[in-house]
């Protein structure tokens, strides 16, 4: 197959789920209008949630979810061995996501509280790249299907995948939203990588940074701005840790 002089490769893809809500996988079936075209670009050889076919000859492994149990580590390593390209799909896989809030509590007390008996085994939440090497990260809680379509197309065409370097504020302005910060509230859009079309702010929620930091982060300035607006440090930290995606930003603080 060829597209305008460029060889086109139908990649064998597998989708695997780890600790997550499976919302990112669900996005694959969304954007229904484009679905037939989307499915014609890849050959899905393993996707438990929608198919009972299972093959191990995949080239790309899309990994959804974080790691939170020992057996998942071996499963991941096995996938890494088989796949040419490992892609972290969604904020859980890229950063730990909401699951990582769990890491603020002691494992034992947590298990005791929820299970009186028949206690399950569990370990602190880790992102995929802490366990195996990852070739591509597609954050988002959930991932944006439009972005996913773009990435699949680039992979099929062997083209460079361009990540937006600018922050969510640009998209927020394109959508003619009134800035949360001007309203006196907190928003992390200014330090978060764009690509979601500022979907949260459009819907009335500030951006809590599920897509991770943009290419230019000025955390000290943003923090001062928020404190000036009367937002407490405690609240800033609570919101900053919702997705575990902006940690590296605070690290710069010291």
């Amino acid at each position: 197959m060829e597209f305008s002089g460029i060889p086109l490769k139908k990649l064998r893809a597998a989708f695997f789920d780890f600790t997550s809500c499976e919302g990112c996988q669900l996005q694959i079936l969304n954007h229904e209008k484009n679905l037939p075209d989307f499915l014609s670009l890849i050959e899905i050889v393993n996707f438990r949630e929608i198919s009972s076919d299972k093959r191990d000859d995949y080239e790309i492994a899309f990994i959804e979810g974080a790691v939170s149990r020992k057996d998942q580590i071996d499963r991941l390593k096995d996938i890494r061995k088989k796949a040419k390209l490992v892609v972290s799909l969604g904020t859980c896989a890229c950063y730990g996501g909401v699951n990582a809030i769990k890491n603020n509590f002691s494992i034992e007390s947590m298990v005791d509280e929820v299970y009186k008996e028949n206690k399950p085994e569990t370990i602190p939440v880790q992102k995929i790249s802490e366990i195996i090497s990852v070739d591509l990260e597609i954050p988002g809680c959930p991932v944006s299907k439009i972005e996913l379509e773009y990435i699949i197309l680039c992979l099929a065409l062997g083209s460079v995948i361009e990540k937006k370097k600018y922050p969510v504020c640009i998209e927020c302005k394109q959508n003619m939203n009134h800035c949360f910060i001007d309203k006196g509230s907190l928003c992390f859009g200014a330090i978060t990588r764009a690509g979601c079309d500022s979907i949260c702010v459009n819907g009335g929620l500030p951006c809590y940074g599920c897509r991770g930091p943009s290419a230019s982060v000025n955390w000290m300035s943003l923090k001062n701005i928020l404190i000036d607006k009367g937002i407490t440090e405690e609240e800033i930290l609570e919101k900053l840790s919702l997705f575990n995606s902006l940690n590296e930003v605070i690290k710069d603080e010291n």
Binding site: E149, C169, I170, K173, H178, S216, M220
Partner: protein, 347 residues
């Protein structure tokens, strides 16, 4: 230009009828800020009643009716033999009602770049020629500094411009299109008292400005103060988020991005307004960035406004609307930046 007056009642009828037959955009309330002040935007309206005729200023400027945030420059259609490129400049006529003087002056500045000079921009021209502009005078807000930049008065660039002189509006008619439309409604000749009221009102409005900044010699100052620590000071605050350029009525720089449709049958070449504050604005092949620091980029934005544009067109690119400060999460204030540069803030 023709000068007439129109009663408030007739204006209402006039606008109501315009709304009925044309896509009309006018200021409406969309939100409130931390101090409970209303936030306005130009939105499509279906009746005169929705319009906030006494609005202050719109949060985003009207430039996006002429330079949309995103616009397809062309599309490619693939076939067995290769591809075919298609371009279309068609724009449906629309009306903007309630445009401020500074915003009209901003359009005139954009006209300089995009309609005149080298390589006129057909996309802009198509939009400009199909937009009917009805301007409206207003009391400046405390932070408006358009007077300092000579953009609080308009002489062209619009179809109709209105000034409230009590029971009626003083009306400047500046296009045959406007003249023809106005044949539908009763308008009156300007009487002696109207002229008096008009001048009085104009003087009153001019006297209300509270924000001023001296821009004389600014172009050279920009060069002289190129290494000034002022840039570091403001650069440290800047989040490099680009909000300022997005809302600014005269920022027009852009990026281009091409997208192939999933069907592989078509592709589009999309233009997207950009901002010189964004980190990769001046990044080139090999990864070299000509403006790596946020202070370099912030400086550059001012440099383009108060030096680059002056060099080409003998006037600043900034019109003094202060939208950039309102939209800036870091509250970076152009008046303060320029004063700092003039060393006026040092006591």
């Amino acid at each position: 230009m023709l000068f007439k007056t129109i009663t408030k009642e007739n204006l209402r009828t006039f606008i109501t009828n315009i709304i009925k037959e044309n896509q009309t955009f006018a200021p409406v309330v969309v939100s409130t800020d931390a101090d409970n002040n209303p936030i306005y935007q130009f939105k499509k309206v279906d009746s005169f009643e929705e319009i906030k005729i006494n609005y202050t200023k719109s949060y985003s400027s009207i430039k996006n009716f002429f330079l949309p945030y995103k616009e397809d420059l062309s599309t490619f259609h693939f076939n067995e033999n290769g591809w075919e490129q298609k371009i279309n400049y068609r724009v449906n006529p629309r009306v903007l009602f309630g445009v401020r003087a500074c915003d009209i002056n901003a359009l005139i500045k954009l006209d300089q770049v995009l309609m005149k000079g080298s390589f006129p921009h057909p996309y802009y021209i198509a939009r400009r020629k199909n937009t009917f502009i009805i301007g409206l005078d207003h009391e400046p807000m405390a932070d408006c500094f358009c007077q300092s930049l000579d953009t609080n008065e308009v002489v062209h660039g619009f179809d109709i411009f209105l000034t409230d002189i009590g029971p009626k509006y003083f009306m400047l008619i500046n296009s045959s299109k406007a003249f023809n439309l106005l044949k539908n409604i009763t308008i009156e000749e300007v009487k002696e008292e109207d002229r008096e009221n008009y001048i009085k009102e104009k003087n009153r409005l001019a006297s209300l400005f509270k924000s001023h900044v001296d821009v004389t010699g600014m172009a050279n100052l920009m060069d002289i103060e190129f290494e000034s620590s002022v840039w570091q000071k403001w650069g440290d605050k800047c989040l490099s988020c680009g909000s300022c350029a997005m809302v600014c009525p005269t920022c027009y720089c852009y990026t281009v991005c091409e997208k192939i449709n999933l069907s592989l049958k078509t592709a589009s070449k999309e233009k997207m307004l950009y901002s010189c504050n964004l980190i990769d604005f001046a990044e080139v092949a090999g990864g070299h960035n000509f403006r790596p620091k946020s202070s370099d980029r912030l400086k550059y934005r001012y440099y383009h406004q108060h030096r680059g544009f002056v060099e080409s067109f003998d006037e600043s690119k900034c019109v003094g609307c202060n939208r950039c400060q309102k939209a800036c999460p870091a509250d970076i204030n152009p008046v303060e930046v320029l004063r700092d540069l003039r060393k006026e803030n040092i006591k």
